[in-house]
Symmetry: C2
C-alpha cells in the first residue's frame, strides 16, 4: 500500500546534498545502511536519519532480506515530483516555441523559416 | 547572465504549496505581483517574499515593462532540477525492466526470453 505523496516533504527531502547523493547511489541498485554509510564517511545513525526522511517522503523503500534491510528507490515519490515538474517543463517549451516564432517573424520578414534566401 | 543553480535552494523553494501555486500560475503566462496576489488572498509583501525565494532559486525571472515588473518562469532552475530527476527516472525504468525480465523468466522456465516454443 502506498501512502499519498506529500510534495512538501518530497521536495524538502531533496534540498540536502547528502540525501541527493544517497538517491544517486540507490539509482545504481539497492544498498544496506552499512553499504550507504561507507562512501559518505558518516555514522550509520546519521545515514539512518537521512533514510528516514527519504522514506517518509516516498522516495525510498526497504525490504527484509534475512537480517538485512536493503533500500531502493521508490516509484511513488519520484513519479509524483516528475508529474508536477512536467507541467513547468511543458510551459517552458511552449514559451520558447512562441519566442522562436516572434524571432522568426522579426528576423526574416520577407521569408518563411527554413527558406533559402 | 545565469548564475549557477543551487539545487539545495531550488528544491527547498518547491517545498511550499504557495510557491508551487505561484509557479503553476506562471506556467500559464507572466504575471505581476498584483496579479499574483489576487487569487492567493495574500498581501503583496508576502507574495514578494515568496517570489524572492523563487528568484534566488533560479525558478523565476522578472523583466521591466514601464512601471511594472512582470515575472515569468526561468529556464535555468527548472532544467537543472529536471536533469537531476532524469537520473532517478532512468534508474526506475531500468529496475522495472529488470523486474519484467525476472517475471518473464519465472513464467516461462523452460525457454529463453524471445525464443519461440
Amino acid at each position: 500500500m502506498i501512502a499519498a505523496v506529500n510534495l512538501d516533504m518530497t521536495f524538502a527531502a531533496l534540498a540536502d546534498p547528502t540525501r541527493r547523493a544517497i538517491l544517486a547511489r540507490l539509482a545504481k541498485g539497492e544498498a544496506t545502511v552499512t553499504e550507504l554509510a561507507a562512501p559518505f564517511k558518516m555514522t550509520q545513525p546519521a545515514i539512518s536519519q537521512h533514510l528516514k526522511a527519504l522514506e517518509d517522503a516516498g522516495l525510498v523503500v526497504s525490504r527484509v532480506d534475512g537480517t538485512k534491510r536493503p533500500r531502493r528507490l521508490a516509484k511513488a515519490g519520484i513519479e509524483a515530483m516528475d508529474q508536477w515538474l512536467a507541467m513547468l517543463r511543458k510551459a517552458l517549451e511552449k514559451n520558447y516555441n512562441r519566442l522562436d516564432e516572434v524571432l522568426a517573424s522579426m528576423g526574416e520578414p520577407k521569408t518563411k523559416r527554413g527558406e533559402k534566401r
